[in-house]
Amino acid sequence: MLKVENVKKAFGAATVLDGVNLTVSPGEVVSILGSSGSGKSTLIRCINGLEKLNGGRIAIDDFDVAKPKELAEARKRSATVFQLFNLYPHMTTLQNIALAPVEVLKRPRAEVEQEARALLASVGLSDKVDAYPAHLSGGQRQRVGICRALAMKPRYLLLDEVTSALDPEMTAEVLAILAKLAREGTTMLFVTHEVEFARQISNRIVFLDKGVLLVDLPTEEFFAASGGLAQPRIAQFLSKMKKD
């Protein structure tokens, strides 16, 4: 289980997360919605240990990410897909995917590469095994980013606005992969602006506003007039997203 307990994070005088609580159980897909600057990406960065907490606790399968020795174990159980892909530019797609499983999980290279090829085939990139990131489109790069994360066989997949840098066509490519992963039962914590997609694939929706978790509701309830929509801030956000 992924547990976020009363997490506080500030950058200087600016409070970005203020007492956030969240639990993600295996098999769940939880989407985090909120306007820009609401703390969504910071929350993901706190969960994967890129940001130090100012208060509270985050544990992945009981491994506390604030403790260096436990962080390594926590990171073996989670994987992050980034907004700007962050692929290693000097490595082929196969090398990008195989590096961490070989070096971190100490798995045999041949076995890892075989799985990496299968992963690439599953996202329609079997012909790009030896391609370098610079020779791929944005959508293809993000699909490789997803494969790189999945190659670690994570229990929790953290997705940080993975379609924000893509055009609508490429966004559709990536969302199709994520929908497939959701159907297969992959546990995901999904920061997104794709409200309709979040509605389709999520078990729960969390809404952050100015660092405060306003609601954490089952998806249907979130979009119900008596549920999340009863909150003026959420109604305003969803209405604005519809217009955009």
Partner: protein
Amino acid sequence: MQFDLTILGPYLGFLGQGAVLTAVICLLSLAGAVVLGMLVAIARTSQTAWIRRLAFIYVDVFRNIPFIVQLFFFYYGLPEIGIYIDAITTGVIALSIAGGAYASDAIRSGILAIDNGILEAAEVSGLSKRITFTRIVLPIALRTSVRPLGSVLINMILTSSILSTITVNELTGQAKIVASDTFRPFEVYAVLLVVYAALTWLVSIGISHLHKHLNRDLASEAA
């Protein structure tokens, strides 16, 4: 005075030996400078303050002292405290140390230019600092540092002519001997001008090709 290059005919082999020695010294020094530059660049990006300061002092000192003074200190100064090193080795060491200060700047710039997101991706995937450095940081930094390192090599070729002052008969040293043998310094040094210019021009073309080759996969074609 009549400009007559034919008088250099008998000395071409002799000058060639000097050119070969220049090339050997420069290649050895470049290897030394790159290794030293890499270590210093790591030290300059270290999280430990005293390591950063030590590296900064090294770079600052060796970039601000004339090379000939460094060379004389190593060759004429060190024997006073019982350290004797032959002239060629002294030349290679001095060029490596001086070149290392400049190489560290080139490599450090390459390291600092790496997109932070790439390092974060490595970090969250659990890669150790050692693996991140050797498999990700260094290969990218060296690729982007090829041109500035090429400038260090060119500077090294030019500076190597100073080694003739400590009895190293590299290209300039041999030329001095030919000039005193023939009493035709005009022709000898005119040829030397052309040879050094051609040498550095060829090296810069080579560096340009190497840069293109190493960075061929980093250039964006799609996206």
